[in-house]
């Protein structure tokens, strides 16, 4: 009975951390995370483009950018929960996690700017995100 409970607990706790048995498996997960966050960043940048051309109002942009931020943050949490299998994977984790943090922080800054009604400043504040997007896409292609 105790063994059964222990096994169940082990299975339940194991399910909290996504396993990655090989470097290749980890790399694929990293590549998919980069791709997913690149999609969120690209969505927000298209929203910024709409704001720059006065084609979208604040309430809509607020929802669009907040959704993008939420998605990126969720992907980062999931990626962080993946156990890296080797020192090589540790390096990949550090590189991507730094980039994901920059993406999430950049999206949060856009959300704050929109909710303050400072739509004219969005384009300037989105500049660092463009560089992040390029790097995310590079990593996503490299690790697929």
């Amino acid at each position: 009975m105790r063994r059964g409970v222990a096994l169940l607990l082990a299975l339940l706790t194991a399910s909290c951390v996504s396993p990655s048995r090989t470097d290749r498996d980890y790399e694929l997960k990293a590549g998919n995370s980069a791709k997913a966050v690149a999609s969120s960043v690209a969505t927000a940048l298209l929203g910024v483009e709409a704001a720059r051309r006065h084609r979208a109002p604040g309430p809509y942009l607020s929802v669009l950018i907040a959704s993008a931020e939420e998605d990126a943050s969720s992907v980062q949490s999931q990626f962080d929960s993946v156990q890296p299998p080797s020192a090589h994977a540790d390096a990949q984790r550090a590189e991507l996690d730094d980039l994901l943090s920059q993406a999430v922080d950049g999206l949060a800054l856009l959300r704050i700017t929109v909710r303050r009604g400072e739509l004219d400043q969005l384009d300037t504040k989105a500049r660092p995100l463009r560089a992040v997007l390029v790097r995310l896409r590079t990593l996503s292609e490299e690790w697929q």
Binding site: L46, P59, Y60
Partner: protein, 409 residues
């Protein structure tokens, strides 16, 4: 002149009422990932829904009875029950998704969290079903849904390469970076969205509510054969917009707010206002249809008095089922489950349930005992049988593909 106006309004209502949350999400998602390479699925789906909607409308006009009433009588209690349970599960999921869709659409205009709107939306859906005459209800939301034509305008303004579009649509191929299983999974999702079971239940029960007879068959056919294909073009325009804007940017569609973005970029704030009105109308209208469909299906199967044209005191159980379905649908969305995810699952499960929905309609429409001279023609039977084969393949493949692709990831 009055007849012409009736036909015109009927066609417009059919166009505006064709798109629901499933079509919005599936087409936007597919356009962004697969471009126009799955446009053929919309065509196959539209032909299928035209075929079976016409059949179910004709059955209702000739017999004056609802689909489930006849299904139980013709196929027996057990087969009818299996049909009822499968269809009800899908219709309930769709109802929940539509309620969430209305709330999400209102959030786009207000930036207030959609969950706060869910109870209000659920109340309004129930209230409209309770108070508004059937014809006004169907027409008002169908016509407002025409605001989604702005997707066609936006598509044109985005300046597509028409040659490339036609080539992609006529030479379907799996895009680079996508696997065949994922391609077929989304083909099934798109097909499920186009042929959602509730559409025929609502269509045939609505025909009974409006008291259609054989004399109305011509108008019914014009509505179906003109309105639905034009509604299908609207679906393709949605996919076209996301193809042009999102595919080059590597964006995947996960939210309703993203679906509106290409229109904002192409047509500005006015275009966005049209989209939001269209989203609200399309999802609200579909919530009314799915809510009513739950009541229609159960009441018809159990032989209860049903319909909006019947005084509520005489159809109390029908109205109770509708009310309970709306409350449960709202509760499901209030658990904070993502309405878009509910939509995605509802259209795939809809694909699974397709043969159970459409087989009985084909059987009844082909039975001279019910239909007399209005029985299916040979061509209709041949097409119906071919579609039934296709629906069976789609139904069998849906769940394995869902597992194999981790729901299209």
């Amino acid at each position: 002149m009055k007849r012409l106006l009736q036909v015109f309004l009927g066609v417009l209502t059919a166009i505006g009422g064709f798109v629901d949350i499933g079509d919005l999400v599936a087409n936007a998602l597919v356009g962004a990932r697969f471009g126009m390479s799955l446009a053929w699925v919309v065509l196959v789906g539209v032909v299928g829904i035209c075929l079976f909607a016409e059949m179910s409308g004709r059955v209702a006009a000739v017999t004056g009875r609802g689909t489930f009433d006849l299904v139980r009588e013709r196929l027996g209690v057990r087969a009818g029950l299996l049909n009822l349970v499968a269809s009800m599960l899908v219709t309930f999921l769709t109802l929940a998704a539509e309620l969430g869709g209305v709330a999400l659409a209102i959030e786009l205009a207000t930036s207030v969290n959609y969950l706060l709107f869910v109870p209000l939306v659920a109340f309004l859906v129930w209230f409209v079903i309770w108070r508004m005459p059937f014809e006004h209800m169907e027409r008002a939301f169908g016509l407002l849904g025409l605001a989604l034509v702005v997707f066609a305008v936006a598509f044109w303004k985005l300046g597509p390469d028409w040659g490339s579009m036609l080539h992609q649509a006529s030479h379907p191929a799996v895009p680079d970076g996508e696997g065949h299983p994922t391609y077929w999974y989304y083909a099934i999702a798109l097909f499920g969205a186009a042929m959602t079971p509730y559409e025929v239940f609502f269509f045939s029960s609505g025909a009974v509510e409006e008291g259609w007879t054989k004399k109305d068959l011509m108008i019914e056919r014009i509505n179906v054969y003109l309105g639905f294909p034009l509604g299908g073009l609207l679906s393709i325009a949605i996919a076209g917009c996301t193809w042009l804007v999102f595919m080059p940017a590597g964006v995947e569609v996960d939210h309703l707010d993203q679906v509106a973005l290409p229109v904002a970029l192409a047509a500005g704030k006015v275009g966005l206002a049209f989209v939001i009105v269209g989203f609200v109308a399309a999802t609200f209208g579909a919530a009314l249809e799915t809510g009513l469909s739950t009541g229609y299906s159960i009441a018809q199967y159990l032989g209860w008095s049903w319909g909006k044209s019947v005084a509520p005191v005489r159809a109390a159980r029908f109205h109770a089922v509708v009310l309970v379905a709306i409350v449960l649908g709202a509760m499901l969305i209030l658990t904070t489950v993502d309405p878009i995810m509910v939509t995605e699952y509802s259209i795939v499960f809809s694909a699974v349930a397709l043969p159970l929905t459409y087989f009985p309609i084909l059987v009844v429409a082909n039975d001279p005992g019910y239909m007399g001279e209005a029985v299916n023609s040979r061509l209709t039977n041949a097409l119906g049988t071919a579609y039934l084969g296709l629906l069976t393949v789609v139904s069998l493949a849906a769940i394995p593909l869902m597992v194999a692709t981790k729901a299209g990831q």
